[in-house]
Structures are given as C-alpha cells and as structure tokens.
Amino acid sequence: MKRLWEIIIVFCFSIIIFTVPVVMLCEEKEEKLLYENRNVTEVPAFSGKTFADGSFFEAAEGYMSDIFPLRNSILAIRTYIDGTILNKPVINDVIYQGEDKPMLPIVPHKASDEAATDKEVERMAERISYISDICHEEGAEFYFVGIPEQYSYFRDKYPEYIYNNEENLKMEERLLFDKINKKGVKFINMNMVFNNMGKDDSLYSYIDHHFSFKGAYETYKTIVSRINADLGCNVDILEDGDFKYKEVPNPYLGSRNRKLMGVYDIPEKAMIADFTNRVPFRRTDDGKVMDSVVYTYPMDNDEIIDFMIYMGGDVGETIFETHREELPKLLIFGDSFTNPIETIIYTGFDETRCLDLRHYDKKTISEYVREFKPDVVLMIRDDTRYLDFEGNGDIK
C-alpha cells in the first residue's frame, strides 16, 4: 500500500512539472492579459548585459508567469477562495460589498501633513496660474475643472474600518481651490456641484474609477453653463430632448470589476448618448482623419467593452471640426475623465481640440495655446491627481 501511494505521489508530481512547460511551449500565446489590463511581460533580448545583470531571467520569470497555462482560471479560483471561502472584504485590492454598493479600491495610507501638502499644492497652483495667465494673454478664458474620482465620490461608502484617505482628499481640495482662487484662476469644483445636487449614486460607476456617462453629462452642463455666463455667449447645452441615454447591452468591464476576474460583479452597463440630431463633425486623431464617431461600438452584443467605448480611449490629440465659425474654439486637456465629456461638448463649439499630455509631446501646453488661440481652455483633473506633476500635470 505504501509503495503504491509513493508511486502515485511521484507520478503526480512528475506529471505536473513536466506537463506545464510542454503546454507553455505549445500553447498559443496571448499578447494581452485582459483581466490585468496589461501586455504580457516582454522578455528583453538576450545579451551579455541582460544576462549579467539578471534582467533577462527576471523578465523571463514574469513572462512565464503571464503565459502560465490556465492563468485566468487560477486567478479566478484564487479570487473565489479569497472572497467566498476566506470571506475577505477586500479581494485583489478591491472592496466588494455586494451588488448594491460600489466596488472601491484599497487606498494606500498617506500621513496627513498640511505643511508639506501646502507646499506641493502651491507648486501645482503656480503651474495652473501660469497656464491661466498664458491663456489670458492669448485672449482665452481658462478654467480648472476638478472632478472627484470614483473612490473619492463614494468615500462615505467605505466600511468604517477601511481607510478612505478622506482627510487628504479634503485637505488637497481645500488648499488647491483656495490657492488658485487667490491667484485669480477660474475654476469649477465638481465635487461641490455634485454635493449640491445631492450626490446621486447614478452619476458614478460602481465598477470603474470614472464617473458614469450621467456624471460626465452633468460636468459638461456645468462647464458650458459657466462659459455662457462668463463669456456672455450662447453655446447650446444639450438637454433631454436632444438625446436619450442609451444603455450598451454588452458586458462592461471597469477598472474595479476587472480585478475580480468576473467572479464577483455588479450588473452595470455602459451608457452613451443617443442623439436625435447629431452635429456633424470631422475628427482627426494625432493628425489622422478618423471616422466621425465618438463611441467605439463593439462587434456584437457579447464583446466585453470598457471605458474605451468613449472616444476609443486615450489619444494624444483629437480635433473636432464642426465648421461653424460663429462659435468659440475650445481646448481641453486632461486624463481619461475628459473622454465622455468630449463626446458631447464638441457640439457647442466651432472647433474642439482635446489633448492628453500623457500621450502628446509635440508641443508644450503653452505653445499649443499660443498657436491654436482657443477662446476657452479647460484643464480637467480628477482629485486623486491634483498633486500629480506628471502627464497632464506637467504644465510648461
């Protein structure tokens, strides 16, 4: 009996260690890991240097882990074990509280230090003030638009015992808007606007770190109303009669539920605007003429979609031309929060240009303003990026 079980142990062990590499070699390799939202680790070219410094083997380890047979199933099982068997409130760094509450991220702890934050905020305020001044020199109106990120919007929905960074969020918001206000920069604080609206849950996604399309619409409406009021112009604001909210039936993968591998989900669908009469436009992305569309439609109803449905994702420079010279020209720069806003805001302007400085490096933002000479410039930042000096915070 003992011998039989010894044979079984050795046989099973051998089957596992010999089968896996064979499958790894033979299996067709995916280039992207859908649920991890990244490419498979690239193995650097083998060279004396990459061999000697160990970087070749380090990357090879990551690559093998990425192409491991049944990787997604393994990750899903682990997710299930953590959530259901071990009953963890936080699974893969996401707080899952059932379908009636938003999925929220675990936020790294950050000690609250007002003096240090004040210095950082001052630095950012100076940058914002700098671009605001340039805009004024060029005859443009500048607005800094602050938008709460999803976890910030739902900060009161964190379980009491889980850190939600509220103190820092509040402090950064207070300091930043105080400072830019003192420097004469015009701003729109959507956190305040949403609070005044009663903080409707439907304005934000339960499964993604962005707002929902409704939240984007409210932001759009607030911005255009403010422009009309300040500039005395009459940019049309799309209202209920101009479009209908339309739910895209496809499964929607946000940045939060993506991490839960489909094991735990909230039935949320992406929303878009279905226009009664769409304003015709010509779209150019990074100098290339594109189809005149603002949504990337899936091939069929089963295809998984994500936030890239709005504008097809992040693009360095997008230009909308509606050829209505009587209307003002608009420049927006910011992260992906701008994407759903772009899908509707262009309708009120002659020409709308959208920059994402994470992907655009041909000119600095000040050079761009001087050359394009827009009437309105919007800098859109979410409140987790107020003190991010890279990407769209890298104002020169």
Binding site: C12, I16, I17, S65, E160
Partner: protein, 472 residues
C-alpha cells in the same frame, strides 16, 4: 533562482531530474554528481551570474586550505588559519564592509567605499566551507581529494542559499555513495510540497500583512496594530524560513541526500533556551561546535562562560545581517539565555505551562520586532508602540481591518505552528492496521499533491514573492 519560482519548478527541475536520474540509475555517480554541480552553479548564477566567481573562489579556498590542513603540525595549522582568514575575509568584504565603513565614517569621517553588493547565500556557503575545513583539520572527516566533490558540497543547490547549514560530515558518504530510491523520492516530494506551501501559501500571504502594517506611518498606529504587525512578521519569518528548509530537505531527499533538520516547531517552546534548540538548529549547532565549545563552553569559570555566551550571541546576531539591530537582537537573546540559565530558569519551569508559553511567545515576538527593524530608532518606536509608551489608542480601525481581512491567514498560520503532523502520525502509529496504513499514505499523498497544486496557484496569482533570508 528561488524554489517558489516558475522557472525553478517548470524549467530547472524538469531539465535536471531526467538527466540526473538517467546517470544515477545507471550507476554513473561521478557523472550524476557533475550534472548536479553544473545545475547547482546554474541555479546560483541564474539571477546574478557575475557572483559565480565568489562561490568558485570559496570552493578554491576551502579545497586548497583543507587539502593542506589535513596534514598535522605547523603546516596544517597554518593552512587552517589561512583558510579561516580567507573565508572570513570574503564574508566580511561582501557582507560587512559597508557596515564597517559606515560606522568608521561616523567616527572618523570619509570612509566611502562605494556600495558592495552581497552575493546571495554567502553566509551559508561560507559557514559550510569553514565547517569542512575545520573538520578536516580536526580529523573528523577525510580530506576530499576531488575538487569537484568539494565544489558539489559547497554549491549543492538545495541548501545553497538559505540552508540548512549542512556539514561535510553529514553528507560525506552520500556524495559518492548515496542510493536514490522511490521511498526517498516520494518523501522528498511530500516534504518539498509542504515547504512550498509554507512559503507560497502562508509566508507570502502573511508577509503582506506584516509589510503593510509595519510600513505604515506612525499616525496610523495603535498598540494592537503594532502587535498584529509583528505577530504577522513572527509567522512570516517562520514559514518563510522553515518552508525553505523543508524544500531544501525535500529536494535533497529526492536526490538521495539526507540533510539535517533545521526547525522543530519553535513557537511551542516554553523557554527561550528551548526556542533556540528548535529554531535554525543547523546554525545553533554550528556556533556551538565551532565557536562556543572551542572557547571553553561551560566548562570554565563563570566569567568565561558568560563571555562565551555573549560572544556566540553577538556573532549569531551579526551573522543575520550587517546592522546594529542584529547585534542588539543577538545581545537580547544572550541576556535572556543567561537569565534563564543563572537566575530564573528553575522558577520558570515550575510555572503553569500556559505561562511558560506566554513568556516565550512574548519574548520571541519582541525579538522579531528588533530583528525586523531597519535601524535602532525604528526598533525603539515599534517597541514603544507595542508597550503603550507612545500614547497610542489600544485599538483602531486599522487593527479591525487587518483582523477581519486576514483572520484566515492568522488561524491557518497558528495551527500550522503546532505539531499537528506529529499528533496525526502518533495516532496512525497507535492504530497500526493495514487499513489505517493505507489511509495514512493516501491522505499524505492527496494532501501533498493538493498543497503543491495550491501553491502553484498562489505563485501564479501572486507577484509578492520575496524571501526574507536572501539577505543572509
């Protein structure tokens, strides 16, 4: 390369084992040893090939010095001295030069020697080499004339980078005369799987708790949180290190070697003296045999005895790392051991067992707080946090979160610290029938393979995979 890496499990082992066993089964021992040596060097060079020369230098030093140390008289003594100086020189240069320069710089200024990177496992293979050299000099083992066999002994991959510290006398006969067999291979697989489970399932999971908590800013601390963090680290270091030892012993067994045990449920100890008989046993016995006893051990005056204890424990501390907290950690245990030996050891034995366990557990945990700390000020702050000296609340939301989120890890770790395995084995030995024997071996097989598969799942799904003992 680490045992819990994909490349080790699914490239290194599948390449090594068939080649090795073809030659071993055919009786070509020299060939199978050569294969093992080549694979061991590949294993060592996998992440940092540039440090291969260090281990080869260590082999050369020990081979030559032992060769001459085998001769009696002045020449032998000289060879021993030179060998030890070179071994320690290598260790001091790579492991302690930065520390020494930094401290001399603080005193005298201007001691910048640049950053010297420590090759992995240097403390382990240096001590192995020295034990071989000393044992040859003392005539306890025969000098090994074949340099490849010395190289195999020093670089043998299962115990190369994190022990156990195998002495030459432990495997002297097995280098040329071992007999691989099914029973050993199956035992090895079971042991390896359990070790992998300790590392990949428990140590890595609970290590995340420790690093998350102990890396927090002071403003997030409470007394209980400090305890939760350091208890998590207490579990992590045990499962990390003993898991690695289990894997080493298991791999050795697969290849026909029988390495000494390194851990024997240390956290069930009732005193610190007992703890050190159960924790990292290969290191404790190394220091006992090559430092403590040669210094006179306890067969000398009280003062010399005390001196010997303190020397051994300062060395034990500094062996673990080149920093003051390790020296303090060694001294901490020296003081406790002296107290147990000369002051309250007998009294402690008369106390209820639960008190003895509690006493040991608290002192061990405090020891790990010192050990974990990157510097003395961190250690002081952590200890103050633990003992109500920083005006912290007793409990806060962070404690509650960590307990709710990681309750399963703590419960599993706690149970696995207990000798449950021994209880099960005793039970089956008492009920020795063909049915119970069958049940035992089937459960063992299913458990081992299950743990192996689960560990693979954890490895694939986790990128958090550091080994604590690599810095040694």
């Amino acid at each position: 390369m680490v045992f819990s890496g994909i490349s080790f499990l699914f490239i290194f082992l599948p390449l090594l084992l068939p080649v090795y066993f073809i030659f071993a089964a055919a009786g070509y021992r020299k060939a199978s040893n050569l294969i093992l040596l080549i694979f061991s060097l590949c294993f060592y060079g996998y992440n940092m090939p540039k440090f291969l020369y260090v281990i080869l230098l260590s082999v050369l030093i020990n081979y030559l010095s032992a060769y001459f140390a085998a001769e009696k008289g002045r020449k032998g003594r000289m060879a021993l001295t030179v060998g030890i100086v070179l071994n320690l020189g290598l260790l001091i240069y790579f492991k302690y030069a930065n520390f020494i320069a930094e401290n001399l710089g603080l005193i005298f200024g201007g001691f910048d020697i640049g950053e010297i990177i420590m090759p992995i496992g240097i403390s382990f293979f240096t001590f192995q080499g020295m034990s071989y050299l000393i044992d040859v000099y003392k005539g306890k083992v025969q000098v090994q004339k074949n340099p490849l066999n010395v190289a195999l002994y020093i670089s043998l991959f299962p115990q190369l980078i994190a022990g156990p510290i195998v002495r030459y006398r432990d495997i002297e006969r097995e280098i040329m005369g071992r007999h691989e067999n099914l029973s050993d291979i199956a035992d090895g697989v079971v042991r390896f799987s359990i070790g992998l489970g300790k590392k990949a399932i428990i140590a890595n999971s609970i290590g995340k708790i420790a690093s998350d908590i102990l890396g927090l800013d002071q403003s997030f601390y409470s007394v209980s949180l400090a305890w939760v963090g350091i208890i998590a680290y207490t579990f992590q270091i045990y499962f990390d290190f003993s898991g690695y030892s289990d894997m080493a012993i298991g791999l050795g067994r697969i290849l026909g070697f029988h390495f000494p045990e390194n851990f024997n449920y240390p956290y069930i100890s009732k005193s610190i003296t007992e703890f050190w008989r159960r924790w990292h046993m290969s290191l404790s016995s190394w220091f006992r045999d090559y430092v403590y006893i040669p210094l006179g051990g306890n067969r000398c005056s009280m003062l010399k005895h005390l001196r010997n204890i303190f020397i051994v424990w300062i060395l034990t501390g500094i062996w673990h790392g080149a920093a003051w907290n390790f020296i303090l950690w060694g001294l901490y245990f020296a003081v406790i051991l002296v107290c147990e030996k000369f002051i309250y050891g007998k009294t402690l034995e008369r106390l209820p067992k639960i008190v003895q366990h509690l006493y040991s557990a608290i002192l061990i945990i405090v020891g790990w707080a010192i050990f974990y700390s990157p510097d003395l000020s961190f250690a002081a702050r952590l200890l103050k946090n633990m003992f109500f000296m920083n005006s912290l609340p007793f409990i806060n939301s962070e404690t509650i979160y960590n307990i709710i989120e990681y309750k399963a890890e703590f419960i599993i770790a706690f149970i696995c610290c207990l000798p449950v395995k021994n209880v099960i084995i005793d039970f089956f030995e008492e009920h020795d029938t063909p049915f119970s024997e069958g049940l035992f071996f089937s459960v063992r097989a299913v458990f081992a393979i299950g743990v192996f598969l689960l560990s693979i799942g954890y490895i694939v799904s986790s990128s958090f995979n550091p080994f604590i003992y690599f810095r040694f």
